[in-house]
Symmetry: C2
């Protein structure tokens, strides 16, 4: 008679995922379980929540209502988990951080090591991705982000500003020095616009040879001598085999922030992590600017 709360949650997952398989994946159960829970809830409510069509489960009006309320409940659990994390005074247990892969690989790693040594009981989980994980849903406790602002609902500190510049192998650097008007190749980001006009006029030999959609691949391509890449200062300086080339003068780029949900910001482990990272990044500032 009374609905089970986890069944409501299952309906939400099914409405969002459209198919039993997707909902099951999201919930971490077998898809038959999703089907059974939905049936059970329908029996309990005496209502049809989904039409079983050939191409999946289509929610009825009532099914949508259930999902709507379940979404509100999910927001409550998110809020709860954040609050518990924010009130947790222990310097032991899990802490999940996320940051762009390249930032971790070339800048943050030493800080992570220092954190680990300072707080050996904290088990640090690192999610290295360019995707913006949802800190509201606690996909991570803390994020290091490259952006203009920390985001509307998040709390943050600016760790440093940063510049970009053009980098290439020493080969290319020599060639450009010797013959600035001569031909040289650029590797551009896929969704970027063309080369700036200033480059075109100062270096008429500049040609866009490649377009990549991933900065790691671009960096590797630059190291392999495929051409010139505009990249963050810290990255060009950190990658062996690359030197700065004058084609594109340094220009300021999005700042680097440490952000967290306000609820979580106050958590002991989060605070400890900040206390390690903020001074480290202050020290590392020269790496980021021209």
């Amino acid at each position: 008679m009374e609905p089970q709360w986890d069944d409501l949650r299952t309906v939400l997952a099914l409405v969002r995922g459209k198919t039993l398989a997707a909902a099951a994946e999201a919930l971490g159960v077998n898809y038959t379980t999703v089907a059974r829970r939905v049936s059970r809830l329908e029996t309990a409510l005496g209502l049809t929540l989904f039409e079983r069509l050939a191409d999946g489960y289509q929610p009825t009006e009532a099914g949508l209502r259930v999902a709507e309320r379940a979404a509100a409940m999910a927001a409550e659990t998110d809020s709860l988990l954040r609050q518990l994390a924010g009130a947790d005074a222990r310097l032991s247990g899990p802490l999940t951080i996320t940051a762009p892969q390249l930032l971790i690989a070339h800048v943050l790693a030493p800080s992570l090591k220092r954190f680990r040594e300072t707080y050996p009981d904290v088990s640090l989980q690192v999610r290295a991705t360019n995707d913006l994980l949802d800190l509201t849903r606690r996909e991570a406790d803390v994020a290091i982000r490259v952006s203009r602002a920390p985001g509307d609902t998040l709390k943050g500190l600016r760790l440093t500003e940063q510049h970009t510049a053009s980098f290439a192998t020493k080969d290319w650097a020599d060639r450009i020095r010797d013959d600035p008007k001569g031909p040289h190749d650029w590797i551009l980001f896929a969704d970027h616009s063309d080369l700036p006009k200033s480059v075109q006029s100062a270096y008429p030999g500049a040609r866009v040879r490649y377009r990549f959609d991933d900065m790691i691949a671009m960096a590797g391509a630059a190291q392999a001598g495929l051409g010139i890449v505009r990249m963050p200062m810290f990255l060009g300086r950190a990658l062996p085999g690359l030197v700065q080339v004058p084609c594109l003068p340094p220009q300021s780029y999005a700042d680097i922030w440490i952000v967290a949900h306000p609820d979580v910001w106050t958590g002991a482990r989060v605070k400890a992590f900040r206390d390690i990272l903020v001074p480290d990044m202050k020290t590392a500032r020269p790496l980021f600017v021209a």
Copy 2:
């Protein structure tokens, strides 16, 4: 790792009920199940939610936070169930109503019968109690209530006003008529004040002989000839063996309302019930007034 929603609900029940047994009772499960679910959630969260003391489970700070959020989730499910009931257009299925026992026994019963005959597919559950059931939590869909106003969050229609008067057996009525100054006995409601001064002066023989805390018992006592009872007009008129006595002139009393939560008010079965009851009570109005 991820908490199960029904475990959150269990924590709420335990915080509210103080003991495993009380929580289990509220949830309709065995108390060992409550203990297990709480343990499981504590493991999942890595937190202690309750201190196991000799006299029961004492919630920790974290336990209270969980309960707080779970309460918000419970409010969501209540809201959902109300919405579903309010959107239900079917004239079949369950409908729960509540009303004071005496009102049902002596006034509403014929309307219930008529409703049952008009809508044979609706299974009517009647909760006859003087307790004010929580319509927000859907302890009933509709309530017939004796009160000055329908309540702040509820929607209602006034079915009729009503009067009270004094009733007793014909014996007493004769005696009072023959000797108004002579002794006669009153049965008062326990928490009521004393007899009005007007009665004292007009009938100096009036004495308070009994105090009851239940109107059904008082009515029976009056029928058994124990004395005079002030009661609603409809009740005195309906009870065999009782006649109105002039000791206490008719005075107006709280009105009779039909009320429901606004979400539920629009439901087909609720509307059908209103459509039966409102005209019936309009017809029955003479029973209630002097």
